[in-house]
Symmetry: D2
Subunit: 283 residues, 4 copies
Amino acid sequence: MMTGTPLFQKNSDTHQTMVSMGKATFGGGDIPIIAGPCSVESEDQMTAVAKTLIQIGVPCIRAGIFKPRTSPYKFQGIGHDGLDILQSIREQSDLAIVSEVLSIEHVMLASPYVDCFQVGARNMQNFELLKTLGRQEKPVLLKRGIAATLEEFLMAAEYILLEGNSQVILCERGIRSFDPQTRNVLDLGSVALLKELTHLPVIVDPSHATGKRSLVGPVSKAAIAVGADGLIIEAHPEPEKSISDADQAISLLTLQGLHRELIPIATAVGRTLPTLEEVAVPC
Amino acid sequence: MMTGTPLFQKNSDTHQTMVSMGKATFGGGDIPIIAGPCSVESEDQMTAVAKTLIQIGVPCIRAGIFKPRTSPYKFQGIGHDGLDILQSIREQSDLAIVSEVLSIEHVMLASPYVDCFQVGARNMQNFELLKTLGRQEKPVLLKRGIAATLEEFLMAAEYILLEGNSQVILCERGIRSFDPQTRNVLDLGSVALLKELTHLPVIVDPSHATGKRSLVGPVSKAAIAVGADGLIIEAHPEPEKSISDADQAISLLTLQGLHRELIPIATAVGRTLPTLEEVAVPC
Amino acid sequence: MMTGTPLFQKNSDTHQTMVSMGKATFGGGDIPIIAGPCSVESEDQMTAVAKTLIQIGVPCIRAGIFKPRTSPYKFQGIGHDGLDILQSIREQSDLAIVSEVLSIEHVMLASPYVDCFQVGARNMQNFELLKTLGRQEKPVLLKRGIAATLEEFLMAAEYILLEGNSQVILCERGIRSFDPQTRNVLDLGSVALLKELTHLPVIVDPSHATGKRSLVGPVSKAAIAVGADGLIIEAHPEPEKSISDADQAISLLTLQGLHRELIPIATAVGRTLPTLEEVAVPC
Amino acid sequence: MMTGTPLFQKNSDTHQTMVSMGKATFGGGDIPIIAGPCSVESEDQMTAVAKTLIQIGVPCIRAGIFKPRTSPYKFQGIGHDGLDILQSIREQSDLAIVSEVLSIEHVMLASPYVDCFQVGARNMQNFELLKTLGRQEKPVLLKRGIAATLEEFLMAAEYILLEGNSQVILCERGIRSFDPQTRNVLDLGSVALLKELTHLPVIVDPSHATGKRSLVGPVSKAAIAVGADGLIIEAHPEPEKSISDADQAISLLTLQGLHRELIPIATAVGRTLPTLEEVAVPC
């Protein structure tokens, strides 16, 4: 039973957890970006993405190999074969690898290859998975459920924290609403409120939140302005050829331009975006 | 990849799957009720419930031993100890036992003791769990996610069907909405629409849908009138002492009265409620 | 300022207001139906509808002449010309005429021709309109706003009651939600809750709530089972030719069949549907 | 009937309407702020607000005299008496006065005293009011309905445009959602999408959108970053004494600080906030 305050709770204005992976630190002055394709499709694709991310100054790569899909008939991710590709990216770069896990078995399989486990919106209250992740020694990126209240979101994080893993990053990714024009509604007011309620870093996914390529830029700027500690953006070498989520992925070139536009916003709120020099490594 | 129509799809007006457990059959002329407490608390509690269900003519008992709770500090269910209690109920009665599983491990543990696996709203898109259940030889009661569209709900069922288990019962249990006055909004229009779209039986949970004891009766009647194939109702020997969900559980006496009031509604839509004689067994 | 309880509040189990129009009384043992087309299109159309309603035993006709439409380019209703048609229906029958008003000017214009003013969902919080209606001596059918909480709904009724008009009928017509498969989500749990909270009659609009012709029957049954005091159903001599809302209007023949099926549901909850003998008049 | 494209539609990247009131222009490089109390309470209050706005460089004052309130027992605004106060503010300053109207009668009454008519969320589809405003020669600030889709919002603007008034400003003010922690959910993705769909200026109300004083600053920054053409902020000389909406009003001192913090965000997106010199006038 609960004694005293929950572990997620912010106890003072300066109470802030920092979560590090590779060269990125979430929760401090930096606002790291995680970028990459919805799904790992091939080693060539991932190498192309990795090279550009390093050039831009993006320190983390997202690389989904187990994909939760509404329909069992849709592409379910490359699966186990993807693990070798992740290994190859690791050997070639210092990029931190973020990858989604859907089950306890996935956690065990992916653990040697990833720097951060992602829990998707559909599994936000998969409590057995959360408890298993609470016993790992790697960061967990926990996405808000599609209709989760902030209390439910924070309590889901608490399941991880309570098992001993304090490296939890919260991610707002849009909530379900009534207007078919946007895939979801990005709830940036909640990002501001989460920053008051918890010491955990809070990042934003502008891609799933809007489902529209052209909106990714403006809402990324808004996310930084509201106080987000990072972004996770879908980017693909050839967005229109993306096997999944093609409508919302931006090209690597667009990502590069967006990164440049985000720098002054970060500056305007007294923070910094990691740039080339800081993350560049031979690839 | 998908070839032809999905397995859940109703192909003609008379295309209807029947799912049986114990003495109950869902999807035919009968409208069986599943009743019982939110959580198994003790053997005495469950024996009291079982005796009354048999007297009333309720053929299935719900008995949660693994409880998914928003907060990790709340009662998480009696867990493994509950398996012996389920065993005892089985030995004493012909009641079919419905119990929720949250993980693949739970499926294995509970399998010898239950007649039907329940998947809760939070796990509706826990696809690894669904696939595991698709390989079992027992019925699965799949609850609609709190903000799941009908397409997502049916596609979640498809994950089970596709693995070979055709015994799936769908359960509408209320969707999340904006009014704090009711816990959820029971979406009975969707029950009617599901009956058009799929041959799978569709039942209704009036307890979680409303979260208010006094509303369970009226919406149960509405559920039968709209065409539901069954009900799953929270009932407790002493509702106000229920460890979880106390506000919505009805007493066994209230359940008995409600059962009596539901009979003419079932008759009015050309169906029947199983009664005493049909399910009575020594307890 | 408020002193004591609001006027809408139910003060005891037997506290129930009855609202009468023509031969119909809402709030008593009878469950009257209001039926008719979305829009008045011509005198022939309305005469055809009126004749059938009388044959079936439906005591009230809906007849929209001022139509609130999302787009200014869509049919806005026949307008002032429709007043003569309403007059003609009045001279030919005892049907009570229910018609929507969108402004104070409409109230003045329509007053001599209608038996009940309807306020649509979009105007539920058009407080100046509500106050004007509170000073009329005819019943007001107040529809729930598309995202109105029950408190907002009841407080909107209070604006009418407070001006002295106690003849208010509340109408649940579906709330906005996330699934594009149904136009709205019919919230029957709220109907049951409203019956606890207020002494005002509560009716249901199964047509707007579902937006699908085939669902009107099942949800009408559910509405009666849950305790609704009446129904308002879109019916048209040739539904597929309806100028507005063609997808949800049922034919007069379907209405006749549905009426017959609703009788046993009403009986099952201890109430009655007005039948032929009670409302028949020469036409 | 509609011929060709709707009037609200943006026909090219550079197609942008500018709407001016007093010294403010919405839709150009400037991002004007409208600030002031929820309700006009007294002349002293308004004079205090006006003085500070001028000092800060805020060119428009909001001043509600007719207040739409959920409950008829709550403060309904100072009403006609407020017109003299508006007149006094006009005589003392160059501030543009924005005031809400709830009915056609209010439009006529307020017209000589205001520079911009505000239509609140509850009246977004009060089409008779919109048509009347379409025949005025002053700007209209149209707020998005609490559950309005963008199509409905834009079509509501079309009702005004079609009558000949092209000076329409759209205002996103939060939509209704499921989490009781924030009053509404600010939908900034829709602001970005509206900027693609329409040439009309789009502003944001961070006060109603969040309902929490502490969130007004962060979401104001986000609104400017996402591309909003202005802000409307509740500010009060003594927020905790505000008769209405006390939880969300910020103090004039906080407004001054916020204004300073918004300047670099505006600069970062290539725009400007009007400052002291530009709007200062003797008061």
